[in-house]
C-alpha cells in the first residue's frame, strides 16, 4: 500500500483540505467497522503510537485514537489554520505539520512566491521531509490551493517547485481552484497566470476546478432538494456536497462547494486504497492521461450528485450515471468536453459495477465523443468495489480534453485587460526578485500552451490517414 501526503496552502487550500480530512474519516469509518487501523487508512493516516495524548475521538463508531493525517498545512495568515486547530479535528494534527505567519500575502503572487517562498524555504522543506519520512512508500503529493489569491497561488506554486526539487520521483497531483470572472480579487488574473506557468512546468497533473462550476452544482442540488417533484426527495447524507456524518457539526459557508472538491480527491484515490477487480494506482493516472508532458490538465467530473431518498423509486440507472459524466453540468470547470477533442479519458468507477456494464457504456458513448486520431480508443478504466458513503455506485471521469483551452483563453483575456493598462503592476514589481520579465514569460507560457491545444483541435473531425507501416523486405 502506498502513502500520499496532502499539502494544503492558503485559505482556500486549507478549507478544502479540512473538508477532505473530515470526509475521509467518514468514509473509512463507514467501511472499517472494527475501528482498527488498516491498510486503507494507512494511505492517508499515520497510526500514532502511545506517546500521543490518548484522547479517543469517535467518528461514527471509528475510534480515532491516534490517527495523524499525512499532511502539511501552510498559510501566511493564521485564521483558517487556527479554526482547524479549534475544531473537532484538532486532536489529529500536530504543530510540526503547520506553517503559519500573521500578515498574509495581500493577494499578491509575488509576495507569496518570492518573499515568503524564500523566507520559509528551509522550514517548508523540513516539514515536507518529515512527512515523507513517516511514509513507508510515498507515491504521491496532493497539493491543494487556489489560483486567484497570494498565498495559495504564489507560495503554493513555490512549494510545488520545491517538491519537484526535493522529491523528483514522487508524483505531484495539483488541485487548483480557478477564480470565476466575478472574483472579488482584482488581481486574480495576474496571480492565476503567474501560477499557471509554474503548474505547466512543475506539476505531473493538474485537476482544474472553477469556483463557478461548484456554485452551479450546489445550486442544482439545493434546487432538487427544495423544489422538485414528489418522490424526488434526496437521501440526506448522499449528496456530494454534504458533510453529514462527519465530525464537524454545523456547516460553514463554503463547505458545500469544498465538499465537492474533497469528494473528487476521495474518488481519485479510492482504487489505490480499496480493492477492486481492476485496480488503478495513482501513478497510472499520469501515465495514461498525459501524452505530452505539458498537456497535463485533466477536467474532472463527478456523478452522481445525489441519491434519491425514496427507495421504491428505481435507483437512477447505471447507464444514466455514465451519460451524466459527460454532460456539461457535471464538469468541475465550465466547459463542454463533448464539443472539444478528447486526448484521453479515465473512468474510475466505484461500487457494485461489473466490467460488462463498463464495456456497454463505453461502446454506447464512444461514437458521441470526438477522440484524437491516434487515440481512438483512449479509455483508461478502473473498478473499485467500495462505493462512497450514501451511494451504491459512483463515477469519476478525468478527461484530457482541449476544452480547457477555453478556460485558459478567458484567463488570458482578463490578464491582458489589466496588463495592457499596467494596472496594479507596481505592487508586484516592488517585491524583491520580481521583474517585468516574469509577467511576459508567464503570459507567453500560457499562450504557447493554448496554441498546443489549438494545434490538436485543428485535427478534430479531419480524417487522419494511418501512418504508413514499416515494410518488411522478403
Amino acid at each position: 500500500m502506498t502513502q500520499s501526503v496532502v499539502v494544503q496552502v492558503g485559505q482556500c487550500g486549507n478549507q478544502v483540505g479540512c473538508r477532505f480530512w473530515d470526509l475521509a474519516l467518514r468514509e473509512h469509518a463507514h467501511v472499517n467497522k472494527k475501528g482498527l487501523y488498516d491498510e486503507a487508512l494507512s494511505s492517508f493516516f499515520r497510526n500514532m503510537i502511545l506517546w500521543k495524548v490518548p484522547h479517543a475521538t469517535v467518528c461514527a463508531g471509528l475510534i480515532l485514537t491516534h490517527l495523524n493525517p499525512q499532511a502539511v498545512l501552510v498559510d501566511m495568515e493564521e485564521g483558517v489554520v487556527n479554526e482547524i486547530l479549534q475544531g473537532p479535528l484538532r486532536e489529529m494534527f500536530d504543530s510540526t505539520q503547520l506553517l503559519t505567519d500573521v500578515s498574509g500575502s495581500g493577494n499578491n503572487w509575488a509576495v507569496g512566491h518570492m518573499t515568503y517562498g524564500s523566507a520559509y524555504r528551509e522550514q517548508i522543506v523540513d516539514k515536507l521531509r518529515k512527512a515523507a519520512e513517516h511514509c513507508d512508500c510515498l507515491q504521491c503529493f496532493f497539493l491543494i490551493h487556489s489560483m486567484g489569491g497570494g498565498t495559495g497561488s504564489g507560495l503554493g506554486t513555490r512549494v510545488l517547485s520545491l517538491l519537484e526539487e526535493e522529491f523528483p520521483e514522487v508524483c505531484r497531483i495539483v488541485t487548483s481552484i480557478y477564480p470565476s470572472a466575478e472574483d472579488d480579487v482584482i488581481t486574480s488574473p495576474y496571480n492565476s497566470v503567474l501560477a499557471m506557468r509554474e503548474l505547466t512546468e512543475h506539476a505531473d497533473c493538474v485537476l482544474p476546478v472553477e469556483n463557478q462550476s461548484l456554485v452551479d452544482i450546489v445550486d442544482k442540488i439545493k434546487h432538487m432538494s427544495h423544489g422538485g417533484k414528489p418522490g424526488s426527495a434526496i437521501k440526506r447524507d448522499s449528496t456530494i456536497i454534504s458533510g453529514q456524518g462527519g465530525l464537524s457539526g454545523t456547516e460553514k459557508p463554503f463547505d458545500a462547494m469544498n465538499n465537492i472538491v474533497a469528494n473528487l480527491l476521495l474518488n481519485i484515490t479510492s482504487s489505490a486504497r480499496f480493492e477492486g477487480s481492476l485496480n488503478m494506482d495513482l501513478n497510472e493516472i499520469a501515465m495514461n492521461l498525459v501524452p505530452f508532458p505539458r498537456l497535463h490538465y485533466l477536467v474532472p467530473s463527478l456523478t452522481p450528485l445525489y441519491t434519491l431518498a425514496d427507495v421504491s423509486v428505481p435507483t437512477r440507472r447505471l447507464d444514466q450515471m455514465f451519460s451524466d459524466a459527460f454532460s456539461k453540468d457535471h464538469q468541475l470547470i465550465r466547459a463542454d468536453p463533448k464539443h472539444s477533442l478528447y486526448l484521453a479519458c479515465a473512468l474510475m468507477v466505484r461500487g457494485n459495477v461489473q466490467v460488462s456494464d463498463l464495456r456497454r457504456n463505453i461502446e454506447r458513448l464512444k461514437p458521441l465523443l470526438p477522440f484524437v486520431s491516434w487515440n481512438q480508443e483512449g479509455w483508461k478504466t478502473s473498478l473499485c468495489s467500495v462505493p462512497p458513503v450514501g451511494h451504491s455506485h459512483a463515477l469519476l471521469a478525468l478527461a484530457n480534453n482541449t476544452c480547457v483551452k477555453l478556460t485558459f483563453m478567458e484567463l488570458r483575456e482578463r490578464f491582458i485587460r489589466l496588463y495592457r493598462k499596467k494596472a496594479h503592476l507596481h505592487h508586484y514589481l516592488h517585491v524583491d526578485g520580481m521583474e517585468q520579465s516574469c509577467f511576459s514569460e508567464a503570459i507567453s507560457s500560457l499562450s504557447s500552451l493554448i496554441e498546443e491545444y489549438q494545434h490538436l483541435d485543428a485535427t478534430k473531425g479531419t480524417l487522419m490517414p494511418d501512418a504508413p507501416r514499416l515494410r518488411i523486405a522478403r
Binding site: M1, T2, D136, C137, Q139, E275, S277, L278, N279, D281, N283, E284, A286, M287, N288, L289, V290, P291, F292, P293, A344, Q354, V355, S356, D357, R359, I362, E363, K366, S373, W374, N375, Q376, E377, G378, W379, K380, T381, L383, D466, A467, R469, L470, R471, I472, R474
Partner: protein, 443 residues
C-alpha cells in the same frame, strides 16, 4: 512431471487462481484415481498433512491482488498457495512497461529467481514453466517479460510457455498497445510458445453462450481457466504409449511451434454452456468436431455465428489475399478430446491437407490427444489449440494502433523516463511486422 506456474501482475494472479481452482476440483472429482494422481502431481505439491499446495509463484508490484488470491485459495479448503511463494512490493508499475522491465524487473530479480528455484526443486521432474500475464499493463507485461528472460537464462533446456491475456480492443489501459507491442516482440525471442486469450472473445462467450447478464472479470477469468485447464490436464498422446503423457509442455511445443517465426497459439473450446443447461444437453463427437472444424476454418472463436460458407480452397488454386474472405490457414493444430466414448471420435476432417500450409504434411501438422475422463463437468469436451492465422487480424490491429500513436510520439516521454528509447520501440515494431508478414504468407 510437473509444471511450475509463475503468476505475474493483477491479471496473471487472478486468472492463475481460477486455473488452480478448476484443476483442483476437476482432479478431485469422482473416482478417477490415475487421472487424479497425474493431475495433482502435475500442478500440486502434497504436504505431509495431505494439503495440496499449488506449484506456483505469485508476483506483483502491489499487494492487494496477491493477498486476495491467497486468501480465496485458502478459503476453498481444498488447496492453497505456498506460504512464502509470493513476492509483492508496495507500489505498482503504473501501467508502464519500461518501469516494469527496466526498474522493477532487475531490482527484484534475485528474489523472483529464488522463489521459482524453490518450486522447481520441489518437483521430481520438471515438465516446464508457464508464465501467466496480461500484455496491457505494466507489471504483467514489463516485469513478466523480464522474468521470462531470467528464467530462460537459468533454465535453457526447459520448456517455457507464456499464457497472455490480450485486453479489450476498446481499451482498458490507454497505452495498452505500446505495452503489448513491447511484450510480444521480446517474448518472441524467449518463449517456446505463446498461448493467447483475448478479453473480447471471452467476453462474447460469457454473454452469448453462457448467458451471463452482468459479466464480471471473475466470469471472464473462469472461461479462460476452463479452456487452459482443458489443455493442461493429463491426456493420452501419440507418444505417451497408453499412459497419461508426462511431458505435456514439450509435446505441445513440438506439435505446434516447430518454426521460430510462428509461435502464436489460439484456443477454442466447445461446448461452452451455462451449467444449468448441461443436464439437458447431449453431445455427439461428430457434431462437436464438425463445428470445431468450421470454427477453425472460418476463424470464428466461438460456437455461434459460424460462417458455414467458408470452405477450404479446392486443389491447386491457393490464391488468397490477406484481407479477403476469411479462410484461416493453419500451420499446425492440436486437438484435445476429453470425455465419454472419446475413442470413437473421428477426426479425419482435421487431417485435410487443404487446411494447412503447403510446406508441412498434414500428418505432421495435425496432433491428437485424448482422455476418457470428462473434464470440469462437461460430458464431452473438445479443445483445439491452433497455430494459425487466427490471431493475425487482432495482432495487426494492435500494431497498427500502436504505430499511429507512435507516429505522433504520444506518451513516449513516459517510457524514455525509465530507460526505453525510440530505437527500442522501432526494434519491437520491426519484429512484429516480421511476425505479421510470416503469418500472412501462410496462405
Amino acid at each position: 512431471m510437473s509444471i511450475v506456474t509463475v503468476q505475474l501482475g493483477q491479471c496473471g494472479n487472478q486468472v492463475g487462481h481460477e486455473l488452480f481452482d478448476i484443476i483442483c476440483s476437476d482432479a478431485l472429482e469422482g473416482q478417477r484415481k490415475v487421472y487424479s494422481t497425474a493431475s495433482c502431481e502435475r500442478f500440486f505439491h502434497q504436504t505431509t498433512h495431505g494439503d495440496l499446495v499449488a506449484r506456483a509463484v505469485l508476483i506483483d508490484m502491489e499487494p492487494k491482488v496477491i493477498n486476495q488470491s491467497i486468501s480465496r485459495a485458502a478459503k476453498s479448503g481444498r488447496w492453497r498457495y505456498g506460504e512464502s511463494s509470493h513476492f509483492s512490493q508496495k507500489q505498482g508499475s503504473g501501467n508502464n512497461w519500461a518501469n516494469g522491465y527496466c526498474v522493477h524487473g532487475p531490482r527484484h530479480r534475485a528474489v523472483v529467481e529464488e522463489l521459482v528455484r524453490r518450486e522447481v526443486e520441489r518437483c521430481d521432474r520438471l515438465a516446464g514453466l508457464m508464465a501467466m500475464m496480461s500484455v496491457a499493463g505494466g507489471t504483467g507485461s514489463g516485469v513478466g517479460t523480464y522474468a521470462t528472460q531470467c528464467l530462460r537464462d537459468i533454465y535453457p533446456k526447459s520448456f517455457i510457455l507464456n499464457h497472455l491475456t490480450w485486453p479489450y480492443g476498446t481499451g482498458e489501459v490507454i497505452v495498452q498497445n505500446y505495452n503489448s507491442v513491447l511484450t510480444l516482440a521480446h517474448l518472441y525471442q524467449l518463449s517456446d510458445a505463446i498461448l493467447v486469450h483475448e478479453n473480447d472473445t471471452v467476453h462474447r462467450i460469457c454473454s452469448q453462450l453462457l448467458n451471463i447478464k452482468h459479466i464480471s472479470f471473475g466470469d471472464v477469468n473462469g472461461v479462460i481457466a476452463h479452456q487452459l485447464g482443458s489443455i493442461l490436464q493429463p491426456a493420452l498422446t501419440a507418444d505417451s504409449h497408453g499412459v497419461y503423457s508426462r511431458n505435456p509442455l514439450g509435446e505441445l511445443v513440438s506439435a505446434l511451434t516447430c518454426h521460430p517465426e510462428y509461435k502464436l497459439l489460439s484456443v477454442c473450446t466447445i461446448p461452452q454452456m451455462p451449467s444449468s443447461s448441461m443436464a439437458y444437453s447431449t453431445f455427439s463427437w461428430p457434431s462437436l468436431l464438425k463445428h470445431l472444424r468450421q470454427m477453425l476454418i472460418s476463424n470464428t472463436k466461438m460456437e455461434e455465428g459460424i460462417d458455414w460458407q467458408v470452405r477450404p480452397p479446392a486443389g491447386s488454386e491457393r490464391a488468397r489475399s490477406f484481407t479477403g474472405p476469411s479462410f484461416n490457414t493453419s500451420l499446425a493444430n492440436l486437438l484435445i478430446l476429453r470425455g465419454k466414448e472419446v475413442y470413437s471420435a473421428e477426426t479425419d476432417g482435421f487431417e485435410d491437407p487443404a487446411l494447412y500450409t503447403s510446406w508441412l504434411s498434414s500428418e505432421e501438422a495435425f496432433n491428437l490427444w485424448k482422455s476418457p475422463v470428462p473434464f470440469n463437468k462437461y460430458e464431452k469436451c473438445a479443445t483445439l489449440v491452433s497455430n494459425s492465422q487466427a490471431l493475425l487480424r487482432p495482432l495487426d490491429n494492435m500494431v497498427g494502433k500502436a504505430w499511429n500513436m507512435f507516429a505522433s510520439r504520444a506518451y513516449i516521454h513516459q517510457y524514455v523516463k525509465f530507460g526505453i528509447s525510440e530505437e527500442d520501440f522501432l526494434d519491437s515494431f520491426t519484429s512484429l511486422e516480421q511476425v505479421i508478414s510470416s503469418y500472412s504468407q501462410l496462405s
